[in-house]
């Protein structure tokens, strides 16, 4: 509905087709706390979303060091972050999966379907990188 806001959906759908049974893909309207019930089984998690920052795309690993972790839980459920899910996984299930966050810059978030040309280009670049990362993780597993 919001054009480039669908970058995560676009990438997730393509990864689902490429990796079929090997990778479980969840396409969500928003992050919700109960998704931890699904994520608790995972060793590696990649969150993908559109970004409005100036950086074209970024892939960063979420650090879950005991000493540096400050639970950032929100007061409401309208906004929920990967860090919060990581906290829930750790505290509720004792799980510390390897977590990556991929952000891809969108330029058009107005009403409409489909990605802008630039967003599609960036998403494809990010897709190549992600594919490489997933293949390495699958090989290691």
């Amino acid at each position: 509905m919001r054009k480039d806001d669908g970058i995560g959906l676009w990438l997730g759908s393509r990864l689902r087709l490429k990796f079929k049974q090997k990778v479980r893909v969840y396409l969500l309207h928003q992050l919700v706390p109960e998704i931890v019930e699904e994520l608790k089984e995972a060793d590696h998690i990649i969150f993908i979303d559109a970004s409005s920052s100036n950086e074209e795309w970024s892939l960063r690993r979420l650090s879950l060091g005991e000493e540096e972790f400050q639970p950032p839980l929100n007061c409401d459920f309208h906004t929920f972050y990967p860090e919060e899910l990581a906290y829930l996984l750790k505290r509720l299930y004792g799980k510390k999966p390897e977590i990556w966050i991929l952000s891809v810059k969108g330029e058009n978030f107005s009403f409409g379907a489909g990605l802008s040309l630039n967003a599609r280009r960036l998403a494809k670049e990010a897709e190549n990188l992600l594919e490489g990362l997933i293949r390495v993780k699958l090989k290691d597993a």
Binding site: L28, H29, Q30, V32, P33, E34, V36, E37, P71, L73, N74, C75, D76, F77, H78, T79, Y87, L88, R91, L92, Y93
Partner: protein
């Protein structure tokens, strides 16, 4: 010298609110206001759209209770079509509604209310939050996550989406339930029922242990409104609207089609949220409460066995049919969640639920339709008028939080009067204000919109409007 205190925004509610407290010259509370500070305009931008779009469009008012709007809207559009929907469609809609009740009530109890109840209303706000609960009671936090997941799973199974479903349509629903899907939902239902029963016992123990403090917190007499079935039992999906007084006496019962004759909406210049009232008594005398406690206060009984048992225990504990303390909302909410889970099981075990007749068809439409149901937070009314092309010419939505507007204002007034006596404000005042409002689980998103984090700010002004003090709390 008159002083004014502002509390803005109010935390751990869905949406934005602000509280101002006006003190008189001796520093005593003169008047209080719970403001809703943003306008939505949903009713206005429904105008000109065709009525069959309403179930999808109006649910966008909220990300927490979209199902309630979706279904109330669909019920109103059924009326425009002038049809009775097939039994399977009706049961499938109710199934979705019960899933919504389980997830929403669980969300509220475990995420929003439990920090106050489990860690104490006086606990430091730095730890009196969901993180504090997770650290101290991880088992309960897991239970909350699983219950919410189950409720969301019911919604997703029926509509393909956890949030903002596309399922109910004018005249019925657009998808049936397969036997495999039914069996999948049945698999965990006994765990859901057991968990909710344990949660009812947990809050019952809390209420007993807190004793008078629980009973008297933000307690005041009022009228109560809720749906009941033909036998007077609690009904969350359909039924007649019942209004009771503070002793549980039935004041009125009426069909949703007559709500405009019975319910008026008062407007105050200081809030975008209106103040509904029972017309025969006028405003504010005819103000009433809705939601879990109001529904239990109104109904004669509950049809499902375990919730019925808990309602009996609840009434024995309060020694009356009607509880007036605002904290009892939390207790009532969990009894309702238990009822919703039992009802889910009943519906899933009903052979009709996997039926294939899903929609009633009509080739003409009536000029208006009204749909009502009990949303998690209270009675929800959708009313549309259409022209000959089926385009909406007028939409009126009275959402649960709006019905409770007067009650929340009253609760704020009571807390303020208890904690502000003279120029000094007693420790814990802000906590109590938040706790009082949170009892009503207000979804200001439905009347406004929610986004972002909510620090707490208190500003004190003197009679000339000069800021004399400011307190800020960042959660």
């Amino acid at each position: 010298m008159e002083q004014r205190i502002e509390v803005f925004p109010v935390t751990r509610v869905e949406g934005h609110g602000k509280i101002t407290i006006h003190l008189n010259e001796s520093g005593k509370v003169e008047k209080t206001f719970f403001h809703v500070t943003q306008i939505r305009g949903f009713e206005k931008f429904c105008e000109g759209r065709v009525f069959w779009e309403m179930p999808v469009m109006t649910q966008r008012a909220c990300g927490i209770c979209p199902v309630s709007h979706h279904l109330a809207s669909a019920k109103a559009t059924d009326k425009i079509l002038g049809v009775e929907i097939p039994p399977t469609a009706k049961k499938l809609r109710e199934l979705m509604h019960m899933g919504q009740l389980v997830q929403s009530h669980s969300l509220h109890f475990f995420h929003l209310a439990s920090p106050d109840l489990l860690l104490g209303m006086d606990a430091d706000p730095k730890i009196r939050n969901i993180v504090g609960v997770i650290e101290k009671h991880p088992d309960l936090a897991v239970r909350g996550v699983k219950l919410r997941k189950y409720g969301q799973e019911v919604i997703k199974t029926l509509s393909g989406k956890r949030i903002h479903p596309r399922f109910a349509i004018p005249g019925g629903v657009n998808k049936g339930l397969s036997i495999e899907e039914r069996d999948m939902l049945l698999r965990d239902i006994d765990w859901v029922i057991d968990s909710l029963r344990d949660t009812v016992k947990l809050i019952k123990n809390l209420a007993e242990n807190w004793g008078e403090r629980f009973r008297r917190f933000a307690s005041f007499p009022s009228f109560y409104m809720g749906l009941v079935d033909e036998n007077g039992n609690l009904d969350l999906y359909h039924g007649k609207i019942r209004l009771c007084d503070h002793r549980g006496r039935i004041i009125d019962e009426f069909s949703e089609d007559n709500y405009l004759e019975k319910i008026g909406e008062w407007v105050e210049p200081w809030s975008y949220m209106k103040f509904p009232f029972y017309k025969e008594l006028g405003y504010p005398e005819g103000s009433y409460r809705v939601g879990p406690l109001a529904r239990l206060n109104c109904c004669d009984d509950i049809s499902t066995p375990l919730a019925k048992e808990e309602l009996t225990a609840f009434r024995q504990m309060i020694g009356d049919k009607v509880a007036e303390g605002s904290l009892f909302y939390h207790y009532a909410r969990m009894i309702e969640a238990l009822h919703a889970a039992e009802r889910l099981k009943e519906l899933l075990e009903d052979p009709d639920i996997t039926g294939t007749e899903l929609r009633a068809v009509s080739r003409e439409f009536k000029p208006e339709g009204i749909g009502v149901l009990e949303a998690p937070r209270g009675t929800l009314i959708h009313h549309y008028k259409v022209n000959e092309n089926g385009e909406i010419v007028k939409a009126n939505l009275i959402v649960a939080t709006v019905h409770n507007n007067h009650a929340m204002n009253k609760a704020v007034e009571l807390i303020a009067k208890e904690y502000i006596k003279g120029p000094e404000i007693k420790e814990g005042f802000l906590n109590m204000l938040e706790v009082a409002i949170r009892c009503y689980d207000p979804c200001l998103s439905c009347a406004t919109h929610a986004l972002g984090k909510m620090p707490l700010q208190v500003i004190i002004y003197d009679a000339e409007g000069n800021k004399v003090n400011e307190l800020v709390r960042n959660h």
